[in-house]
């Protein structure tokens, strides 16, 4: 099993380096001069030169790549064009907000998806099956920014029971945090939950159709035993993958929702950086997200190996 995990970690590292190179290329594929574009109206020859040198853009390309990669490996992601703050610091500042929103959204999503997905699979054609299928269809088709606006209109506008935007850290005031996180978490959670519902349903249906489920029923076991020990246990394997990817997505920052609710997370940071052409921040955020994604994938692989003995032996 260790061998398997090491191998997967190695692959992930390769992909991460590839992502880093892509991210590095970002700044060089900008048509025109990125520093000039970033300075925009604040252009002045001295600032321009200083910024160019500080970002190493005066060095030859391959040297820049090496510089970038070696620094990124130790966590030095450069300095913001806009605020001269360390990119790494900026990212770390914003991470907690994103994580708390992502966590809350994941909880909402799972609470919806597991019961609906499983029940809809084992009671095909029933009322709950129809609700789950229609609901999840709607859930994946609805634009998140529109849903957010609808929620704001309802809860902050008409009912006035929730604040329309803003953030209070969980550590500071849990109740206020909750009041602020409900709408964004619901927005993201409903959509994410819809995706997972569909997947859990199809995964359970597939496991239920397998030969070993038939063998279990042939043995006359209670239906609950068949479902628990045979069907769901096997269905879990792909489900965990999807849940893991969802979590990674959520942790990586849900840009649009953070913007609508003025939630100070990674997503909003990235968005502001894009507007300001603050390339080092954009690069740093993208790289961090790729790293989170790959890490989440590794965790999923580890879980996979724990649950499925066939993987372990390889």
């Amino acid at each position: 099993m260790l061998q398997y995990l090491l191998r997967r970690a190695g692959q992930a590292l390769v992909v991460l380096v590839g992502a880093a190179i892509l991210v590095f290329a970002l700044i060089h594929l900008v048509p025109g001069d990125p520093v000039r574009v970033a300075l925009g109206t604040r252009f002045d020859p001295e600032a321009y030169e200083a910024l160019r040198r500080a970002s190493g853009l005066d060095l030859p390309l391959h040297e820049q790549l090496v510089r970038y990669l070696s620094r990124a490996a130790v966590g030095d992601l450069g300095v913001s064009f806009r605020s001269s703050q360390s990119v790494f610091e900026l990212l770390m500042e914003r991470l907690p907000a994103t994580i708390s929103l992502g966590g809350a959204a994941l909880v909402v999503g799972l609470l919806i998806a597991f019961p609906l997905g499983i029940l809809s699979a084992i009671r095909r054609g029933s009322a709950i099956d129809h609700v789950a299928r229609i609901g999840s269809q709607v859930g994946i088709s609805v634009p998140d920014f529109w849903l957010a606006i609808l929620f704001i209109l309802l809860f902050a506008g008409a009912l006035r029971i929730l604040p329309p935007s803003g953030y209070v850290p969980l550590s500071e005031d849990p109740l206020e945090w909750l009041r602020h996180v409900i709408m964004p978490a619901l927005t993201v959670g409903l959509i994410s939950g819809s995706i997972m519902t569909r997947f859990i349903r199809s995964s359970t249906l597939e496991a239920n159709d397998q030969d070993f489920a038939r063998t279990a029923r042939a043995k006359g076991l209670h239906e609950s035993t068949v479902l628990r020990d045979h069907v769901l246990r096997n269905a879990m394997v792909p489900i965990i993958t999807v849940a893991g990817i969802q979590l990674a997505s959520l942790l990586a920052g849900v840009i649009v929702v953070e913007v609508v609710f003025a939630w100070p997370g990674l997503g909003r940071l990235t968005y502001d950086a894009v507007l300001a052409r603050d390339y080092p921040v954009i690069q740093g955020a993208v790289l961090l997200v790729a790293a989170i994604f790959l890490f989440a994938n590794l965790i999923v692989d580890a879980l996979y190996a724990i649950i499925d003995p066939r993987i372990r032996v390889r």
Binding site: Q210, D211, R217, K219, T225
Partner: protein
Amino acid sequence: MSALFELVDFGVQIGTRRGTAHIVNGVDWRVQAGETLAIVGESGSGKSMSVLAATGLVPSPPARFSGQALFRERDLLTMEDRERRRVRGRHIGFVFQEPMTSLNPLLTIGRQMTEAPRQHLDMPSGEARDKAADLLNLVGIPEAAQRLDAYPHQLSGGMRQRVMIAMALMCDPEVLIADEPTTALDVTTQAQILDLVTRLQSQFGMAVVWITHDLGVVADFADQVAVMYAGRIVELAPTSALYRTPGHPYTRGLLDARPRLGETEAELATIPGVPPDPRRLPPGCSFWPRCPYREDPRCETEVPPLREVAPGHLVRSFYSITQRAPRDQEA
């Protein structure tokens, strides 16, 4: 004398988008303890479906059933789910076709084998494990006790099939149903498995229902053979009678099609055409479109009844070809 397990006028229908499919039609057979019934037919003949549906393994909507499936004179079809499950688990053992996928890949062999007796017989787990190890030994798996903690993917196909057989015997069933158990195995392993089941049958005195598409496999081992075509039994006879004096053109066709050592004819005989769509069965005999004999005008428009052409030998036909150029049977 009442049978241990019998089907009476059993039928299975499934509604599809393009009409109702009659997968199984008016099937009657019975087995006693210690007897082996072979059900032979090609894909789509309803041979597996009839047995699976009779024992409650086919979900009832969308399928509909007619007739009776009697285990010790109690109709499985009209029982409550819970009771049917109990009867099935406790008294009937199953061995399926695909040993690769018929075992749960995530649970150990021991866990899968002891599930049923612990539930149906209230057997304590230690005792169940011992029994499992004994049965694994009996079916010829070396180092039985260690294997209990192994996972299915760690065994070969032949060994997995043996495990399935041992697992089927855990509750001392009175009927063993084997649905194409050797189809997915190589010829040598096939022979071993057949041998094993024969031995186990004489040891435990079970009734065995062996479903297969291969007439050759059961020649030595079955007491009776039922040949199915398009959901109906077209011939039911003691084994030797079936092979030596087949009464139905389809059976005849199947037997003639076997290539035999020493033959020097250029082409293999085949039955031209394909079986009918279960949603659109012909009004008369289902085999009529492909039948080379067609000796009775009623064949086309009426479904022939099963007639007894010799003691214990039933043929679904208006005429009988048992007296035609008999072929000697070779195993």
